[in-house]
Structures are given as structure tokens and as C-alpha cells.
């Protein structure tokens, strides 16, 4: 690897890291504003025009607040919990292809931190590590309600990971690769050889299962049982205060961003958009991929909006309903989808 490659990668990592932080930061603002619009309210409008500086004010407040660590809490683990939560949320972005390869002079720059050939498995590994952040946080608090909340959260995440994995298998049957870059490449353009290229049109049921599981994995409503207000405690982060709590909440928003990016890449063509070849041929090999990146971000923001839209529409599940849906509906449905995909792709061959 040449030095220039390393520099490019480092720049890419920093840029992606900053983008995910900024997107997560403004997701909090967007959530409050969108929630207000859904509920016929105004939303934050004090800090700056339209309350645009609200995330800064929230951040300053989080950092300034008094930090309380319970007396008999497990000191180190209490700090490890939120750090693990935010770390696992951030490292998921490494394998997402943000755009086509960009050609500057003779140099080809991949808009992806690393193209490993087990990209999806990596995402799944990272997501399951996220459970540790929740579990350790609940355990280290030395509070039995936190522990109960953590166990509930962990069992929810693990349950939904099964059907998520199964829904991906059907996708892998038709794509034949685990690399996210190749999956995005296969969905090139929008329409080819009389077919829609995007996987959503080939796997609608798989997408439905995947998106439901993504809601559960990111602990978003209607599956936001880890932080169950109905029980008058915050769940696994009851004992957390100041920026440690901020990390937990922030991790949720980064998770939402990353899972939106994964969904856009797996099912909605990633950086591909209709008529991209024609556009790229006309604007050149540098601007063309950038338009692709913009297309991907539009899809991501649409998904984030969808997350929020669902949150203010559907009431929260009861815990037994949640488990019922996960184990007795989604898993059989995902298996049926695998069989269906196998049969159809065999018949089409």
C-alpha cells in the first residue's frame, strides 16, 4: 500500500466519522422537529433560526451536567458500557460503500473504507457486539431494575438478529456474495435487461422482515422496550447521567444512520440511481460518483425520516407481543422467504 493510499483512507475514515456524528447530532434535532410536526406542535425554535443550534445547546448541557456514579457500581465497567455502545455504533460504517470509485488523474479512489469480502457478516458481528454495551451498562449499574432492562434489551436484540440474518440469506442467494461493494455494484442503475436492478424489487418480503428487525435492533419505537418509560425507569441506563447517558442516546442515533445506510445499500441500490451512466458520462468521473453519494444520502435520510415517522404513528409493543412477533412470525416468514427465493431462482435459471 502506498503512502498516498493510506492518506486517502485516513481522510475517508475521518470524513465518514464526522459525517456520522453530525448526522446523528442533527437527527436529534430532526426527531424533535419532525415529532412536533406530526403532533401539530412547533418544536424547538429558541436556539438560532428555527432552533437550528439546538443540538449544540443539548450537547453543552450534557457535558455540563453533574456526573453521578452509583456508590457500589462496578467502576470500570460502568464507563466501558457507554463507550462500547458508541464504539460499536461507529465502526459499522467501515464496510459501507458510499459511492462508485472516483477517478482523479490516473488514481482510482474507492469511496469505501475497506471492501472486505464478508461485509455483511462484519456488520452483523458489530451489531451483536452492541448488545454488550447495553448488557454491561445494566450490569455495572448495580441496580436490579437496570439489570432487568438490560436483559430485556439483550434478549430482544438477539431474538431479532436471528430473523434479520435469515432475511439476509435470501438476499445472498440471489446476489451470491457477502461483499457490500459487489452487492451495490449488482444493483447498478435502476432498470436493466427488463428487470428492476434494485434488490427491493426482487426481495420485497425480505426487505420487510429486514426493516422490522432493523427497528428492533436500533431499539426504535415500536420496539423501544429497552428504555421502557411505562415502567417508570429508563431501563438499562437508569443510573447513567450526563454525557454517559448522552453516549447511549447518541449511539442509538448513529445506529439508526448506519442501519439506514445498510438498508439503502442492500435493498435500495446504495449509490445507484436511475440514469446514472448517462449522468456520469456527461459530468465526468469525479462529479459522477459524488452525485451517487448524494443519491445514497437522500436514501439514508428518507430511511431516517421513515424511522421517525413510524415512531410517532405506532404504539409500543408489549413485551410478549414483541417476542411473539420475533420468534413465531418473522422467523418462519424469513425461512419461507428463503425457500421461495430458492425455488424461484432455480426455476428462472
Amino acid at each position: 500500500m502506498e503512502l498516498s493510499d493510506i492518506i486517502v483512507k485516513v481522510i475517508l475514515i475521518v470524513v465518514i466519522f464526522l459525517i456520522s456524528l453530525v448526522v446523528a447530532m442533527y437527527s436529534t434535532y430532526a426527531e424533535r422537529k419532525i415529532a412536533a410536526f406530526f403532533q401539530d406542535r412547533v418544536g424547538p425554535n429558541r436556539a438560532g433560526p428555527f432552533g437550528i443550534l439546538q443540538p449544540m445547546a443539548d450537547g453543552a448541557k450534557m457535558f455540563m451536567k453533574e456526573e453521578i456514579i452509583p456508590n457500589r457500581a462496578s467502576g470500570l465497567l460502568f464507563i466501558v458500557g457507554p463507550s462500547l455502545a458508541i464504539m460499536t455504533a461507529c465502526i459499522g460504517s467501515a464496510v459501507i460503500p458510499w459511492g462508485q470509485s472516483m477517478q482523479i488523474g490516473s488514481k482510482v479512489i474507492d469511496l469505501q473504507v475497506t471492501d472486505i469480502n464478508v461485509g455483511i457478516l462484519y456488520i452483523f458481528g458489530v451489531v451483536s457486539l452492541g448488545v454488550y454495551g447495553i448488557m454491561i451498562g445494566g450490569w455495572a449499574s448495580n441496580n436490579k431494575y437496570s439489570l432487568l432492562g438490560a436483559i430485556r434489551a439483550a434478549s430482544q436484540n438477539i431474538s431479532y438478529e436471528i430473523s434479520m440474518g435469515l432475511s439476509i440469506i435470501a438476499l445472498l442467494l440471489i446476489s451470491g456474495t457477502l461483499s457490500l461493494k459487489e452487492i451495490a455494484e449488482q444493483q447498478h442503475g435502476f432498470w436493466a435487461n427488463g428487470y428492476f436492478t434494485w434488490n427491493f424489487f426482487k426481495q420485497p418480503l425480505g426487505f420487510l422482515i429486514f426493516i422490522v428487525c432493523a427497528f428492533a435492533e436500533t431499539n426504535r419505537s415500536p420496539f423501544d422496550l429497552p428504555e421502557c418509560e411505562t415502567e417508570l425507569v429508563g431501563g438499562y441506563h437508569t443510573e447513567y447521567s450526563s454525557m454517559k447517558l448522552g453516549f447511549y442516546l447518541f449511539a442509538e442515533y448513529i445506529n439508526m444512520f448506519i442501519s439506514s445506510a445498510v438498508m439503502a445499500t442492500l435493498y435500495f441500490g446504495g449509490y445507484n440511481y436511475p440514469g446514472m451512466d448517462w449522468v456520469t458520462a456527461h459530468v465526468g468521473p469525479v462529479i459522477g460518483p459524488i452525485i451517487g453519494v448524494v443519491a445514497l444520502f437522500i436514501k439514508i435520510f428518507a430511511f431516517i425520516f421513515f424511522f421517525m415517522w413510524v415512531r410517532w404513528t405506532i404504539p409500543r409493543f408489549r413485551y410478549d407481543q414483541l417476542m411473539n412477533l420475533g420468534w413465531r412470525t418473522l422467523i418462519p416468514l424469513a425461512i419461507a422467504n428463503i425457500v421461495l427465493t430458492g425455488v424461484i431462482s432455480y426455476l428462472l435459471k
Binding site: I34, F37, F38, Q39, D40, R41, V42, W309, T313
Partner: protein
Amino acid sequence: MESLSNKRKVLEAKPLTLMEKAYLPAIAKGMGITMKHFIKNVFGKGEVTIRYPEQKREFSENFRGMHSLKRDEEGRERCTACGLCALSCPAEAITMTAAERQAGEEHLYREEKYAAVYEINMLRCIFCGLCEEACPKEAIYLDGDIVPTDFVRKDFIYGKDKLVEAPLNQ
């Protein structure tokens, strides 16, 4: 048991049909409803809230807010310190000290007796309006605004400086 009014409605939990069990049609319908609200509010037409510090909601006619001690048409204090308001107060929030009107003070107090000190403890007051009803001189009314916030308990004991209406010609 025999129903007396015949208004009882028997509800049965019917098993869900397949369409209802799928949830998704109902969810789509609900999302349509919320989206309608969203679009309406993006263009700033649907909001039902009041932007409080700038705008204030009009209180209803019979709203009971902060007390005020009234003056008569010549600008004299109506209160005669009879103590009926304090007596009728279920929260015992009102205290007063009566004093005799001196010569030359006829333009200040309507009767020979007046309240030298008149205090209402706003932390105790339950805004029931019984003082208003008990007053034979129509001297006290709960026609003010919401009682403002404060930091110290003693500042919630309102004396005559805060309660008496402003003089007429001012």
C-alpha cells in the same frame, strides 16, 4: 344481573381476521394519517399550540387568578377589614390587621375601619373563590393573571403593595 337502564352494550372480542393479523394495512393507514398532519404542519397551518411568551391564551370569563383589592369609584379602598374573607378561606391563606381611619384620610379609605396589613399566602391559596363570595363590600376579586413564580417562599406572601388595585387617575 338485570340491567336497569337497558343501556349496557355487550362487547365481544372477535378473533382477528387474517387481514387484521397482518397489521400492515392498519399500520399503513395510521401512517397516512400522521403524514397528513406532517404535511399540514410543514406549511405552518396545522399547529394547535400557542407560542407562549409571545402569545398568550385568553382566559375564560370565570377564570380565577391572582386576587386584587378593589377601589371604589372615587379611588378609595373598599376593604373594611371585616375578616369575612379570612374566615371563609378554607386554606387559611388570608390574614389582616385592621386600623382606624384618621381625619384627613377620607380620600384613601371608604369606611372608618380599613386593613392596615392585608396578606395572602399564595402558597396556601387554592383559588376557590370563597373570599370573593364572602366579601360584603365587593372589595376582593380573583380577576388577575396567573400568580408569577418566585424563588423564595416568603416572596409568595403578597401584601397590599401587590394586591391593591392601582389608583384611578394614574
